[in-house]
Amino acid sequence: MTNKATQSTATPTGKKLRIGWFSYSCCEDSTIVFTELMNERWEVWKKVLDVRHARVLQTNNVLDEMDVAFIEGALASQEHIDMVKKIRVLAKKVVAIGACACDGMPSAQRNDFDAERLKEIQPILNQFNYNKNVQKLEEVITVDVKVPGCPMNEQTFLTALDSLLTEFKIVA
């Protein structure tokens, strides 16, 4: 089952999907999978994606309206929460990428630490105002699409991207 985003037969309508790719408390692995999916799709994606914000890919990032914001990783600090709230306002659709964003784990493993381990990491939590608990995306903002998996499931991601490209009339 190939996907529109990968088929060269999908006829771009000239419009581009305005996207942002954001990573918070995570190992950034779905970002690596995303760059690997580019290997066979970069020519199509260059025509249909307008990357507004992606710190890992570019230096001049603009945080303005987006059609779709892809958010990877769990939320470990108030700074993370403020950012995703801002993104939620700017993006028509938010896609949670990977297990950490969808369910919190494993980046939220400190939530289950026993007293002894918590005491050990407390100085760092205090010094750099980490939140008491690490939260998954849905606990802070509404999420339109979820791409689970650790790293994200490639097929689920490609299917989601396809339906978004169709929904926003980027490909006919």
Binding site: C27, E36, V56, A76, S77, P123, Q127, P151
Partner: protein, 451 residues
Amino acid sequence: MHLIDLTLNKEITKVEGSATLDVKITNGKVDHCRFGISEYKRFYTQAMRGKPYRALPTLLARICGTCSNAHLLASIEACEKALGFKPSHQAILMKQLTMFGLNIRDHALHLYLFAMPDMHGKDSFLEFDENDPEEHQILHDAFEIKAAGNYLSIIIAGRSVHAIKPQIGGFAGIPKPEEITEAVKKLTAARPAVLRTIERFMQAPDRFDRQTKFMAMVARPFSYLEGHIVSDQGDYIEEKDYREHLEHTIIPYSHASGYKFKGQSFMVGALARINLAKDTLHQQTRKDAQAALDLFPSTNVFHNNLAQAIEVLHCLDQSIEFLQTHHFETEPLGQPTLEEGTGIGVVEAPRGTLYHRVTIGKDGKVIKGDIIVPTGQNQINIEQDLARRIEELLPSDPDADSLQLELEKLIRAYDPCMSCASHFLKVRIDGAAVRAGQTLHQDRNQLVPQK
């Protein structure tokens, strides 16, 4: 008019993970310059305790996405050494192939998506114009090399990130004959692109000389998995002495906060490996990359990129040879011969020497462990270099943006990985160095034990 006062506190882009550059210049002099890792820790040192050892490698692979397979193999080796597993010849060969797949994919990602845009005045790799012949070739080469590395990792390790086939005691499956033929085809087809990559990074104009000690685990032939640790200043540490080396050199070093640590700073990574072991590379690589290899040993930090490009060629040539000469046979996983113990796994990860240590109890649970990552070892050099780079640039009176670009280019040459770096016990954020139990004394960058 010299640049009198400037404060830079912007997020660094096109690197793995999040970090900020904290620079203050007053009266044309560098007041402070800190490369702060602002990645949030996820506390794997604490999380690993009490876990069944069989689950450890896949857990610790989540320390970092881009070099997850290096963490996986280092953790597997630590567990195998702790409990007396003897990996078979085929398992060792497949671990090598896993590292080759990782390095081809990861180096190409860094060279093309992070470093190459700077060399063409572009902001992002996707801005390269496919209608411009030279830029189209660059786009094509990058994705062809990455795809070949990715495919090799998939047939050997099951996945190019967070691989599933490498296990404690061996591999859960072998590649099919048709997969091997396809991999050899893709790797051979990508070879011209790799030679062009070496050519491109030989032309790179940037230069930053850094006198330092270079350190790496080396072997003959060239290996990312075995060998002894050497430096270019006569250090020679055999595997049996790794524990002592870890305790007295590596751990103290990567926790150092002051600029000078016992007067010796050192660098790990591709530049160190090629400086120390270029004559052990695959003979096909040495033949075709001779002109580039003649530039080493080098103290130009930007040659870390060129060294990575040369390593991609080595990994490609060595993979083709192994795939064409080895007959893969299904093997049962090895069994432990000890009930408990402590083991150390050392791997040359893409960014440098990676140490995993684990102590496993009779109940098969992890008692404790340590992970020392390459970026932590390079951090002191990075900060020293940034300060010196600013002083070099100040006379040309750069504005904030061009200064930030020049400093980011230097940081990217080191290819730091913040996901890994956020792991090590000492967290450096905007220069505030804290170790669990100690807080920073504000005006002095010293660690002050918490009362």
